[in-house]
Subunit: 322 residues, 2 copies
């Protein structure tokens, strides 16, 4: 198996002008779980092992894997400017360490670098991989815009919310898997299965994230519990509560949404309403359904060690607490 | 000949979410001279007519031509945020009409849209066109960063300045021409000649822009004369003056660079120093040299109506006054 961290470290950012490349180097060196490129390589492995082709195909999937990781980090750099986020992976964000213009321009260059990496995809596979990459990138920008729109919207349905997180999070994971499989020689049904598996775990992951923000273990969660409640984020928990509440609970909930000066009390009160309305159970059911749909897709793939890794990933997702 | 304005108008931005696509539509509808895509098509025409192939090749160059125009407008959208420019083509810039985040996100989407258009390049030509596009885009980001760096630098050489404008302006024009020619079947020598022609007229154009900012006809120039002098922009005129000045003139010039409250006087005084040092003549010689180099490249191309258009463009450049 290719060491994805080493491959990312091996990318060369020792170029001039430093003001352009140093923030890219800084961002990529700050870690992260490398989930997306790892999934690209596992998908390639699943297909190669299955069809008994040689291991070169996994090597051939590496440029696309790297492109997806660089692209993901580009979205974080620009998102952090737009969200005015000051910390990412325990370090100051680029627009804080440098300035807004640096984050904009180095982010642009990072998006271009992703396309540069992509251009190393074997020529016969490039048109399709580029087309999918562009669709994915478009989905993510659309999802980001919807997220902004929904922040100001008076009403958002759960369906709209799920569509938004699908675009913002799931299509990147789905495309990472499909692209890896395609480069390794997956047929159309396998490409589709990899995409759908990724889409469903992507949605499940984001729903679980919303749940953990309220119900996670403070010792392992990493962030402060209740952050979404404090800032009235329209998570699936809040939307479920608003949709399922009796008039009295709804009024109480809306009252708390207006509170801004008593965070601990607000978290406790809103959590109590969630508990009463069994919001956690409803959302966990959504997550478990998405996970089950993901697992079902795996049956359409060759069964081997790599597919088993994808199965375990989906199963761990449901039980993670951080 | 393809009507490039109609082709740009025919791009569909009637998509959701509107917050993402409306600023793109607004920017592309605001006009501009469409120089870059026009050059792509003329280059294709020059090669096709020359080799007596059919006109399909010009049609095939259209997606790349559009990609280059969309890309160019993406750079303007992000540059305007970074430069805090409030007006572009007589209209409020996107970050003024909407906000910074909109300009960042719609700009990102515009860059992705450029790559989408590019993916319609014939598959056998795509790897090379994508590789060149990425190199060009990188050059433009590097040029933008150098421009920022030089703003704060105590000393910039004319050589450094020419390299910066080559990256910021000329490589896009050069690549527009080379790409059009390549898609139409240009051989390696013709590709190179188109690129070099574009690079030289790109540099000449930017040098001429600097000259016109001081010596242009106020009736036709469009902007206020002397804007660069007022804000101490390190144009080739200022750099030439600083490099060629006797100690006395240099001291006088540096003194005026510190003045901030007497624009008209400052413009008159700095222009007088330029006149004394014959800065205009030196810079015009640079521009004429670049134009001559551009024209020489045309001799390496098939001689036809399209090549003649390129010749006239270079010749008009030297005598333009707006």
């Amino acid at each position: 198996m290719i060491d994805i961290n080493k491959a990312i470290e091996a990318l060369n950012w020792q170029k001039e002008p430093r003001g352009l490349y140093e923030p890219i180097e800084y961002t990529l060196a700050s870690g992260g779980k490398r989930v997306r490129p790892t999934l690209t390589l596992i998908a390639a492995e699943a297909i190669v092992n299955g069809s008994l082709l040689n291991g070169d195909a996994i090597e051939q999937a590496l440029p696309a894997a790297l492109a997806l990781e660089v692209f993901h980090n580009f979205t974080l750099m620009h998102d952090d400017v737009m969200d005015r986020a000051s910390v990412r992976r325990g370090q100051p964000t680029v627009h804080v360490k440098w300035n807004d213009n640096t984050a904009i321009l180095s982010g642009d260059q990072m998006l271009i670098e992703a396309y540069k990496l992509l251009s190393d995809v074997p020529a016969d596979k490039l048109p399709q991989v580029l087309k999918w990459f562009n669709e994915m990138a478009t989905g993510i920008c659309e999802g980001q815009q919807l997220d902004v729109d929904y922040e100001h919207a008076s009403q958002v349905t759960i369906e709209e919310y799920l569509k938004m997180i699908e675009l913002k999070t799931a299509v990147l994971i789905a495309n990472a898997l499909r692209t890896g499989g395609y480069i390794a020689g997956a047929n159309a049904a396998e490409q589709q299965a990899l995409y759908e598996y990724g889409r469903h775990i992507g949605i499940a992951f984001q729903v679980q994230d919303d749940i953990l923000d309220v119900y996670g273990d403070p010792k392992t969660f990493g962030k402060a519990i209740g952050g979404d409640i404090v800032c009235n984020k329209k998570t699936i928990l809040l939307l479920t509560a608003l949709e399922n509440a009796d008039p009295e609970s709804k009024a109480e909930l809306l009252q708390w949404l207006m509170a801004t000066d008593c965070d601990a009390q607000k978290i406790a009160a809103v959590t109590a309403i969630y508990n009463r309305l069994e919001v956690r159970e409803v959302c966990e059911a959504v997550m478990e359904e998405q996970t089950a749909l993901a697992l079902a897709e795996l049956d359409k793939l060759p069964q081997n060690e790599a597919t088993e890794k994808l199965r375990q990933l989906a199963e761990r997702l449901v039980t993670r607490n951080s």
